[in-house]
Symmetry: C2
Subunit: 83 residues, 2 copies
Amino acid sequence: MKFTAHINIMPLKELLDPQGKAVSNSLHNLGLTNVTNVRIGKHICLSMEAKDAEEAEKMTTEACKKLLANQVMESFKFTLKEE
Amino acid sequence: MKFTAHINIMPLKELLDPQGKAVSNSLHNLGLTNVTNVRIGKHICLSMEAKDAEEAEKMTTEACKKLLANQVMESFKFTLKEE
């Protein structure tokens, strides 16, 4: 079975996000002054073959922990969809 | 009213995604050989003040078109949540 995991990796809330701050300032300069906060992370779509949703979930978690997310600075969340 | 827009900005399907390809190869090297495809984009959380959902949607679309997404190479999608 084919699954696609949609993963969001975001900087932890406790940490500053200088990229988000820069974008927030730029949006203000463009006239969007009602924007109060911006945080920027990664969105990853992972397509895989797995025998069931449980295996797909396990693989996705392993990929996030081993490679995709730096857990010192980032948290990850994902949703799985069968294709 | 406070709204948060959760925006996903992804490279267009027609385009190569070298970053995704590199991650895919790395996952194979880590033993996750069932991963068939990886695409990497940005996830942005935009908090804002708006009088209703319609205004928030308009602001988010403007932010994406003017600054956040390069529409030659990227597509964007978002969901809005009232806080």
